[in-house]
Symmetry: C2
Subunit: 323 residues, 2 copies
């Protein structure tokens, strides 16, 4: 199957989006942006065997490739509009492409983003790059750099689930409903696109959680020139995560697991009622897990007592005094 | 070196472009499009060992990765604005990255496109995806689909050089100045960005030549629902190409070699003087090489006599009557 046929068969669909002047099939796509909007551009790559296991359901791989990019769009509080796909394929498996494209369009349809172009190539390893252009009202985008000392640190959803799900899958250990739920959180991330757009009115800074909650909060704080404290007892641990791993391991996974694609954001304490309302409206847990502080370090506390968290190599807690 | 450090060291530069609201370093880039413009979005991947030899000068690889995408922007007659880079690295060679980023910015600066974001990942093989957003006055973009029977077919530059240069490099046979010039045409494609923007006023359809002149003209004609004739004696063969390969092989390379990143376009015959003026102004050869016809087939003629061109596997000419 040549590139032309591959694209025609799996990726070209009749468009219904009036913003698309010219879609797949020319040297480039042409789209018509709304007047008075800024554009938000994100790009993210998933490498087979690095970012997802090769044997994962191809529909999940397709869905996930779109969802992780949408999570970056969400972190900016933008609206997703147009997507391009650069797909480097190691194999020539029509079944894989069929599943992959199905999952990709499932996510695209769910979040109203249109595939307008792409490139397919051959390589030794499957590499999937998705690029999404979104838009936002000027100066309404959320950035990492706006957190101020005294503000609260929040996280959406229940971090740790995805990392637990991946580990279960890799150890061939997905048997009961709790385990299946955790795997699903890895395979089908839920980018907080609509929720985050509403959060823009209340939050001072945001980042999406891809590398691990602790590490990503650190990035937000570095960008903001601030420090912070995470209260471990306030981490939102899902019922399946605690059921499968116990509370201590669940806490470690929530802090360091990664692949959550949840949103961490900061907001002044006066915003708490509005944020609680959004959590209810979107049926997504939004948990206050810490506080922005002066300084430049991120600490963890449990019941007011400080714990040092080492997040290189081994991830474990020690009493701060032992550190 | 972690991703953060890698990006900081090789890819983050202070921006001077007022259209960039937020560049590298957040979850996404924010840019401000001009009012009343359509956006043109292109994406293209180069896989090491597939699209370029691994041992090519890393500065050439970086330059080329940008240039081949700019060629797609040129084929749409758009103006390049903002670029993102998804870089999957097999090695961890600081020297390679240093050269690669230097070449990338050389092309970016030459064609006024700004790197605003990206993603770096690890893989078994180096895979380079560049995505460029450009803009164009509404309805001014060139497409593949506008060619009409009776119009002339033109090509910019001298196709065949790049394929010859790559073959010379691969056979370790770059010794004299002609050979070096041909290699340079592979390593440093010259995307016809400014020229193509001027052509938009005169051309009816355009495509960039990446897969080979014959194959890409066929694509333009299929999109236009037309046929065509290429007059082989009118193919613009460069002096180095003919010197190294002789006229017959040079013709084959020009028709089927690929990697030229020149622009093929069609225009009514009344446009010939304006096109000649542009060729002079930009010091780029623009050659009339054929005619759009009714029907759906692309033929080659020499001195009025039809030749069948087989462009699968072996590429060679036979008298049409023998076919």
């Amino acid at each position: 199957m040549d590139e032309f046929e591959l694209i025609r068969r799996y990726f070209a669909r009749a468009g219904r989006d009036p913003s698309i002047v010219l879609g797949i099939g020319d040297d480039g796509a042409i789209v018509r942006p709304d007047a008075d909007r800024e554009l938000v551009i994100v790009i993210d790559t998933m490498v087979e065997g690095v970012h997802y296991p090769a044997g994962l359901d191809p529909a999940d791989i397709g869905y996930r490739a779109v969802a992780v990019n949408l999570s970056d769009i969400a972190a900016m509080a933008a609206r997703p509009r147009w997507m391009t796909l650069a797909l480097t394929l190691a194999g020539d498996d029509a079944g894989w492409l069929d599943g992959f494209s199905r999952g990709l369009f499932e996510a695209a349809d769910e979040f109203s983003v249109a595939l307008v172009g792409g490139d397919t190539t051959r390589g030794d390893q499957t590499v999937i790059t998705v690029q999404i252009s979104g838009d936002v009202i000027p100066s309404q985008a959320l950035r990492r750099s706006g957190a101020k000392p005294g503000e609260d640190i929040y996280v959406t959803g229940t971090p740790g689930d995805a990392a637990a799900g991946l580990a279960l899958w890799e150890s061939n250990n997905v048997r009961n409903e709790n385990q299946r739920q955790l795997l699903r959180r890895f395979a089908r991330p839920a980018p907080r696109v609509e929720l985050a757009r509403e959060l823009a009115a209340h939050a001072s800074a945001a980042i999406d959680v891809s590398d691990g909650l602790f590490a990503d909060i650190e990035k937000l704080l570095v960008a903001s020139g601030a420090g912070g404290v995470i209260e471990l007892d306030n981490l939102p641990l899902s019922v399946p995560l605690v059921a499968v791993h116990g509370k201590e391991a669940a806490t470690e996974l929530a802090l360091g697991g990664g692949d959550d694609y949840e949103i961490v954001f900061t907001a002044a304490s006066v915003k708490a009622p509005a944020i609680a309302k959004l959590a209810k409206r979107f049926s997504v847990p939004i948990s206050k897990i810490g506080t922005v502080t002066r300084g430049d370090a991120l600490h963890c506390t449990r019941a007011g007592r400080e714990l040092a968290y080492r997040h290189a190599g081994y991830r474990h807690f020690v009493e701060a005094s032992d550190d």
